[in-house]
């Protein structure tokens, strides 16, 4: 957590094999070289994967939610159109928001398990931090 410690383990950046990331698997007290990790291809790949999933997904659910909100605010007649019994479009769209939230949750959970967790484990192993 302290500022001083973060710059202490920098020696590994000069070494030719930068996949070592400044820490042998058994040396616990030394801090990993964060800049070397950040510059590594594995880390860039992890960041790219994560951002390419979460940013579009966030945009998607926000747009979908705002569409629903704007329809509720300005298109009363459309939302009150009855579909079956007294159940109308507005209620179904609202429930669709519930369903899409759960679907996105499941999709992200699956994506993170398959594409993020193994990559994190890889980087941690290279940095000499054992994975949980």
């Amino acid at each position: 957590m302290t500022t001083a410690a973060s710059t202490s383990g920098r020696h590994a950046a000069a070494e030719p094999d930068r996949r070592v990331f400044g820490g042998q698997p058994s040396t616990a007290p030394q801090k990993p070289d964060f800049e070397a990790i950040q510059d590594s291809a594995e880390f860039a790949e992890l960041r790219r994967r994560l951002r390419r999933f979460v940013f579009p997904m966030t945009a998607l659910f926000l747009v979908w939610y705002l569409t629903y909100v704007l329809l509720s605010a300005y298109a009363h007649a459309f939302m009150a159109t009855q579909v079956f019994g007294l159940v109308n479009v507005g209620l179904l769209l609202g429930l669709a928001q519930f369903v899409s939230t759960v679907l996105i949750t499941l999709a992200y959970n699956r994506f993170a398990r398959r594409r993020i967790d193994p990559q994190v484990a890889l980087i941690r192993a290279h940095a000499g931090v054992e994975s949980k």
């Binding site: 957590m1 302290t2 500022t3 973060s6 710059t7 801090k31 990993p32 964060f34 800049e35 990790i37 950040q38 880390f43 992890l46 960041r47 994560l50 951002r51 979460v54 997904m57 966030t58 659910f61 926000l62 939610y65 705002l66 629903y68 909100v69 704007l70 509720s72 605010a73 300005y74 009363h76 939302m79 009150a80 079956f84 019994g85 007294l86 159940v87 109308n88 507005g90 209620l91 609202g94 928001q97 519930f98 939230t101 759960v102 996105i104 949750t105 992200y108 959970n109 993170a112 967790d117 994190v120 980087i123 941690r124 940095a127 931090v129 949980k132």
Partner: protein, 529 residues
């Protein structure tokens, strides 16, 4: 009519009271048992990260399912129909912000408070001061809303109508809450949340299944009866019954709901109670399922209350809209079920206020005392002692505030707190996690800009003056047309962050810290418990 409604609402105060006392006794005992002295800061603030994703997920939803979102939403649907349901939708979708953007990274970067994350690669003292101020302001408004609601609930459920009796009960609620926080710390508070959330969820599920069964599992039949017993008739089925006249205000509210939840300090602090990012993710998945089921049930309960109790009886009962769920419970399950629902509502207030108190005291002790006053060199034991003392002070303020605000129309405080949280915290957290160039000036701009803008707009909005429903109806100094500032203040804080970052300029010494933070946020490397 009024006398009849009163009689119905009260049920049997003795049963209500005994169910509540039983709940308080059980939770106090559990808090006492799980507490291990809490000598370390990590144990007190974050339960040593010892909870599983499932446990923390249920506690997360518990933190969020406040009395306002249980009694308030059920009542909103019962009286205004569809417009009450709009709240539920926003509050379900809101969890995706936490799942996709914040939860795991926050877990990896911070230790106890949101100040840990915001100040990670910035100049410590000014940023921590700003983070602490925003945490305290947000928690204060949120807490005031909860405590003021307590008075109304007492009137409704225990049949105590005189001011002195209500104040006395607020004091009792406050004292139990302080005990949870002082003795139990995060561990005890989390267990209270878990017990409460399971209790509340069981109640709601059973009531809704029972209701659906009563109408032959035909939701349309419930809607049909609801329209017959509501003065608004069929207009409760579509949007517009409550927000029909001010569309923009509604859009602003909806934006605040979806962005506010995962910016609340006491919700964010929950991510620190699990051992790693995977468990933080699991907590969010659990929380989303819990909230999903809960709000589906609320929909049935809301329309069910309209159908079986009728809006006349609800609006005439003490507590007004908030009495819909308890009245329905009384109608279908008699005094015993009313007692159970009352206890769930009380438990909710207790547990949420405890969470808020813990978040405020952690922020003061960890950000202000340990990092600003002692410059990061505080003795951990003393830090925990300061946290406990702060919890006492905050708890005391909550009691005083609750008594003072009792009976006032403070429902707007919940959405105000959410607007403040979304304006001050969301932009700052997202920038510091995702934007490399973001710097100290940018952080200060986005926190103070968002917080200030939000407060100013609230002061000059119709909630404070210029409308019959205002807090000060006699004066009129409003010029801002919306009663919820989110639509303006949230984008404004994002803008402030960008402007501040460019004003602050590029700092070379920032690179190492930025690398450390980003690597740690994504992989958890460098995190020590």
């Amino acid at each position: 009519m009024r006398v009849l409604a009163d009689g119905m609402a009260t049920g049997n105060p003795l049963i209500n009271l005994s169910v509540f006392v039983l709940f308080a006794a059980v939770t106090l005992y559990i808090v006492y048992r799980v507490s291990s002295g809490n000598v370390t800061a990590s144990n007190y603030y974050a339960a040593d990260g010892g909870f599983t994703g499932a446990q923390n997920g249920i506690a997360l939803s518990g933190d969020f399912l406040s009395a306002a979102s249980f009694l308030g939403i059920a009542g909103g649907i019962a009286v205004h129909g569809y417009d009450g349901f709009l709240y539920s939708v926003g509050w379900v979708v809101a969890w995706l912000v936490g799942l996709l953007l914040i939860g795991e990274m926050l877990r990896n970067t911070g230790r106890f408070t949101i100040g840990d994350v915001m100040a990670y690669r910035m100049r410590q003292r000014p940023v921590r001061a700003a983070a602490a101020i925003s945490t305290l302001v947000i928690s204060f408004f949120y807490m005031l809303a909860q405590m003021a609601g307590a008075g109304g609930l007492v009137a409704l459920l225990l049949g105590i109508h005189d001011r002195l009796g209500q104040s006395l009960l607020i004091v009792v609620v406050g004292v139990i809450m302080i005990f949870y926080v002082l003795v139990g710390g995060m561990k005890g508070t989390t267990w209270v949340q878990i017990i409460k959330a399971v209790f509340l969820l069981l109640c709601c599920t059973l009531i809704s299944v029972f209701l659906l069964g009563k109408f032959g599992f035909d939701f349309s039949a419930i809607l049909d009866r609801a329209t017959q017993n509501n003065k608004l008739g069929t207009s409760i089925l579509g949007p517009g019954a409550q927000y029909g006249k001010n569309e923009l205000d509604f859009v602003s509210l909806a934006l605040t709901l979806v962005l506010g939840i995962c910016s609340l300090p006491h919700v964010l602090m929950r991510f620190y109670t699990v051992p790693d990012a995977k468990q933080a993710r699991r907590s969010l998945v659990w929380a989303i399922w819990t909230v999903f089921i809960f709000y589906l049930c609320t929909l049935v309960i809301g329309y069910g209350a309209s159908a079986l109790v009728g809006t006349d009886a609800i609006l005439h009962a003490p507590g007004g809209e908030n009495s819909a769920a308890p009245l329905l419970a009384f109608r279908i399950g008699g005094t015993v079920l009313l007692g159970v629902v009352s206890a769930a509502a009380f438990a909710t207030i207790l547990a949420v206020v405890a969470g808020l108190t813990l978040a405020s005291s952690a922020s003061f002790a960890h950000d202000v005392y340990a990092n600003i006053i002692k410059r990061g060199k505080a003795d951990p034991r003393r830090e925990v002692r300061v946290a406990r003392m702060t919890a006492l002070v905050v708890g005391f303020c909550a009691i005083i505030g609750g008594i003072a605000a009792n009976g006032q129309n403070v429902a707007f405080l919940v959405s105000l707190a959410l607007a403040l949280a979304a304006s001050a915290n969301l932009s700052t957290l997202l920038y510091s996690l995702f934007w490399k160039r973001f710097n100290t000036t940018g952080t200060l701009f986005s926190i103070y800009g968002g917080l200030g803008c939000c407060l100013v707009l609230i002061i000059f909005s119709p909630v404070l003056s210029g409308a019959p429903t205002s807090l000060i109806p006699s004066a009129d100094f409003h010029w801002f047309p919306l009663s919820n500032p989110g639509l303006v203040s949230i984008p404004f804080s994002f803008l402030c962050g960008i402007v501040g970052t460019f004003v602050g300029g590029r700092k070379a010494d920032n690179a190492a810290k930025q690398a450390e933070m980003e690597v740690r946020a994504l992989t958890g490397i460098g995190y020590k418990l």
